[in-house]
Symmetry: C2
């Protein structure tokens, strides 16, 4: 299995490194960390049981370098900010049979790829993991770790199941889902509400729950209604389950908050904006969510 | 006319200074600026035609100092934050016939005074003025300047009309309104929406209009509906008029933003919280306004 990984942030490095450990041949496409990764590989320290190891890709390239032959699988693991151009990144490395795997946050993020590469199989990945690139070529996996893969928009995939089996063989937690979009909505319930509230108020999840728990519930209810109206049945009691789960977490700053603090572009459009746009399409009123979205745009 | 002024911020100093100019005898009750005001009086510089002058009160006192006799009128011109105790400030200086005038921001702010001083006439004042205390005893009046006075909850008042006539005699713009509470709702339309949005997003009115004009309109519409349901008929087209007027203003930071930046308590409860509570009482849903209120509490 020849895998081409684009993006060596925390998620790409961790799941790419695990694939390499499972015996896959990996080419890694870097941006700012090219020199370090080519020289030293990527060090991964898992504090939750996946080991400490250095992942040395078969090949380390920069965007635009020619490939000998197209890969079986390209994994795109980058933040989906307004600046990133996924089609431009993918076009040079895609062959007619290459399976595209986009591991990312956000809702309705695969349709652009399906439109641009109508003949390629498209998979989406949703990572429930706490991992951080602390330096170029150095990733720490702090907590959690579950990856859900599914075909866009839904259905089975041999390539997807093969990937999941490879991750499982390394001891990681992963699953194949026939309902990718439903998984995305389930994650968005948490992500759109807490990321927006933490980012706007410059505080962490525990403070948000301390004085805005009812608002969290209202925003989640609006997203839940939108998902349901669009045909995505979320598990019973999921809102209370997510709120109670967050009460048990240590105070946490979502990546949107960290990006904003660092002055980097955020994923507000794919996480919050796409939820708002989906709600309009579905005819669902989401005034609390709309207010948060407007404030995020105003702050940026 | 013996007037006792509590509060030597921008509004109290300006309107107290104008009353003194009209010939009223003023006692001024100071807090942190006692020494400067007693020594030098209060310097007022109006950039919009009311003159530059030094206002020397007949008497300058600190809270708690005994009065020779109760004043005809006490003017309370302080910020209504959760810390301020208006009843404690007023009790020592009120006689049976003293008229209480509370010049302040906010909605439904006179009821507490009416409950505590049921036998005194209570007037409210709403100032549409841009003025700043730049130093202890030094106030600059930058722009605008209109003061509306009215009896709480409504109706005529001889004392109120006498005060308005004194201000008019100095060249200031002032009027007596038979519908005090309607005037408060009219100001709250602008104040609750722009103050909340500017404070939460750490930006000025021009930025808010640049990317959140529709949200301003939605919040104003919710407040308008609440006012109407409570029997306060606001002028036709007032929402568009206020938005267009704000487009013509230079970028402006509401006092709530300035207080928050300075780390001081804000008037969010009387401006935004009271609007939310009135909406609940009136049975009006105000999800956009509710979201802003929760975020203000979260930030503080």
């Amino acid at each position: 299995m020849q895998v081409h990984l684009i993006g060596t942030g925390a998620v790409g490095s961790l799941y790419g490194g695990l694939l390499a450990r499972s015996g896959a041949a990996l080419t890694v496409q870097c941006r700012s960390d090219f020199v370090e990764v080519q020289r030293d590989g990527i060090r991964i320290e898992s504090h939750v049981g996946l080991g400490n190891w250095v992942f040395r890709p078969d090949q380390v390239i920069r965007a635009g370098e020619p490939l000998v032959k197209p890969p079986d699988i390209v994994i795109l693991a980058i933040k989906l900010t307004p600046r990133c151009d996924r089609v431009a990144l993918l076009s040079p490395v895609i062959g007619p049979k290459t399976v595209i795997v986009s591991i990312s946050n956000g809702l309705e993020v695969e349709n652009e790829l399906a439109d641009s590469f109508p003949d390629n199989e498209i998979l989406g990945g949703v990572a429930f993991v706490c991992a951080t690139r602390i330096n170029p070529g150095h990733v720490v996996h702090q907590a959690y770790g579950h990856l859900v893969l599914g075909r866009y928009p839904s259905g089975p995939s041999l390539a997807g199941e093969a990937l999941v089996n490879r991750w499982l063989s390394t001891g990681a937690s992963a699953e194949y889902s026939l309902q990718l979009e439903t998984v995305r909505w389930q994650k968005a319930l948490w992500n759109a509400s807490f990321s927006a509230l933490c980012t706007i108020s410059h505080t962490h999840t525990a403070s948000v729950l301390g004085s805005a728990e009812e608002l969290v519930r209202q925003v989640m209810t609006e997203i839940h209604e939108t998902a349901t109206r669009l045909g995505h049945e979320l598990p019973n009691g999921i809102i209370e389950k997510q709120i109670n789960g967050t009460h048990r977490m240590p105070p946490y700053l979502p990546s949107m908050s960290l990006d904003q603090r660092a002055g980097d572009p955020t994923e507000k459009e794919v996480i919050v904006g796409n939820a708002v746009r989906a709600a309009r399409r579905a005819g669902v009123k989401t005034p609390h969510l709309d207010t948060l979205y407007t404030l995020l745009k105003l702050q940026e």
